[in-house]
Symmetry: none
DNA sequence: TTCAGTATTGAATAATTTATTCCGTATTGG
DNA sequence: CCAATACGGAATAAATTATTCAATACTGAA
């Protein structure tokens, strides 16, 4: 950053050639990355030695030194204002991916904003003390449910999950007040999940919900309602974002649990177990 | 950032000298700025030519190219951290989440760097033309596999996936050269998947792989190998990052397919279908 | 275990890039 | 008009980087 400013600041006390060099660098800073001093000289229409002298005059050790400084300037600038869409040479694919990543980034960042810290801690605490956990989600949310099941099992927490709603209800029958249920649904209206929620309420099983961020039947029932942002205008991208945000929230819970129970021991056990299995 | 992640991810398949170089760079990234290839070689205790070869092996044009990439990595890391470090009272939870999101962000960004654009397009094309797709991944990767299955089904693409390896093999029996197989595995060494890979090869079924970014049996067999970054030092976080990166890559493929086949129509059909089902 | 084939490494060397020297030209101030 | 000085580029020196090649280590199959 400083580098380009420095150049700009000295513009008016430069000779013609120096001025040409400065202008070129300011206008094409991003090109410099792949230019040698000779190439730059050619581009500007001067000699290679003049390029080097220009660098030294600005206080840099030599050409590579200036080049590095310019690169740094570009990067700090671009990371600070990441919205600057480079015109021209970004391919369709790059644009696509950038858009997706940008939206995703926002959705993930949103999680801490729409969930009270207390809710997250409470959720972790409930899972922590539970002797058994039932995770349920169907359709798209089923993937999130199984992801969470995997995490919790890794911690040594007995966790049930099944993609069949009827079986999930049966599994719920094995739970009690010292267990916990986590219900995942984008809309929060899924009939099967609501049935599970009612059952949990009735049996006084602690109930966590993970839904889109708008009041809905499921979150209203839950002891600890958790939310993920929804509402991207792109109908193809939105489901992806919601799902990833839900998974992200689950991962956060997982990490909280890791901290609570000092789980390194358990993890080691798990690693050992895997090694044993592999050798078998 | 991605540069250092890339190096870290390949640590375990490096030779002794390469490993020394990698360690030195990771530990002293900030020093690299003022090192020539010769100096680096001396510092590590190897030859200058080995340094250059190391750079090229990692996919850089040469030493200056790597040097620049490392510089950029350091700068983006530092600016991003500055960006996010809110002064004073960040809670434990906030720090945790920030670290997770930061790492995740980097891993996702890395995808476009470690996968050639062509590979992504090729992968999309193969899926596009396939009459049937088998997605297979077991354990952690099973979640990714089911996610991908879900996406592809949304596009109206007949997609098979099952968490049972034996059944997956049976499913593969229904495929032909006009189909496609996508095998997902972090290590790329899973025996069941390798069996599937061999079968696909033998039957001339186009084979896509999605593994960690290091050469492995699976990716070597594949017609189109795809990669996700691995290698976060935190054993608890790394699996999460890898999985999310894999899913992200699948989502990118999905979006590419959306573009190719003008799928808006199909999606509408799907939405209608869901509405009908809900009312029923 | 042996052996062919492959990969790794570093010394030597080639190629490229960068920095300096040197000289002609232009400009300025006296 | 004449030093004195600054400027710019060609030539050249110095340095850095990249490649080649030969020796060695390693790998996998018979």
């Amino acid at each position: 950053m400083v580098c380009l400013l420095k150049i700009r600041g000295m513009l008016d006390q430069m000779s013609v050639i120096e001025r040409k060099l400065a202008d070129f660098i300011l206008d094409n800073a991003h090109l410099l990355r792949d230019y040698s001093s000779q190439q730059l000289a050619d581009a500007v229409g001067t000699s290679q030695s003049s390029v080097v002298k220009f660098c030294q005059k600005l206080g840099y050790k030599g050409y590579p030194d200036l080049k590095l400084a310019v690169s740094e300037a570009i990067i700090t600038a671009s990371t600070l204002q990441r919205d600057s869409n480079e015109p021209g040479n970004a391919t369709n694919l790059q644009q696509l991916v950038e858009q997706l990543q940008f939206s995703l980034h926002n959705h993930l960042r949103g999680i801490l904003e729409i969930n009270e810290e207390k809710a997250l801690h409470d959720a972790a605490a409930l899972l922590q003390r539970a002797d058994r956990v039932l995770v349920a989600g169907f359709g798209k949310s089923g993937i999130v449910a199984h992801d969470m099941q995997f995490r919790l099992l890794q911690l040594g927490k007995l966790t049930l999950a099944h993609s069949d709603p009827a079986l999930s209800l049966q599994l719920a029958g094995t739970l009690g007040p010292q267990s916990a249920v986590l219900l995942i649904s984008e809309s929060g209206q899924n009939a099967d999940l609501l049935k599970l929620a009612r059952y949990a309420k009735q049996q006084q099983i602690p109930l966590l919900s993970l839904t889109s961020y708008k009041s809905n039947a499921l979150s209203l029932t839950a002891d600890v309602p958790l939310f993920a942002l929804s509402g991207d205008e792109n109908v193809r991208i939105n489901p992806i974002l919601v799902q990833m945000a839900q998974q992200h929230l689950c991962h956060i819970l997982y990490l909280l649990l890791c901290q609570q129970q000092n789980s390194d021991h358990q993890l080691e056990e798990n690693v050992k177990l895997l090694q044993v299995l592999k050798q078998a």
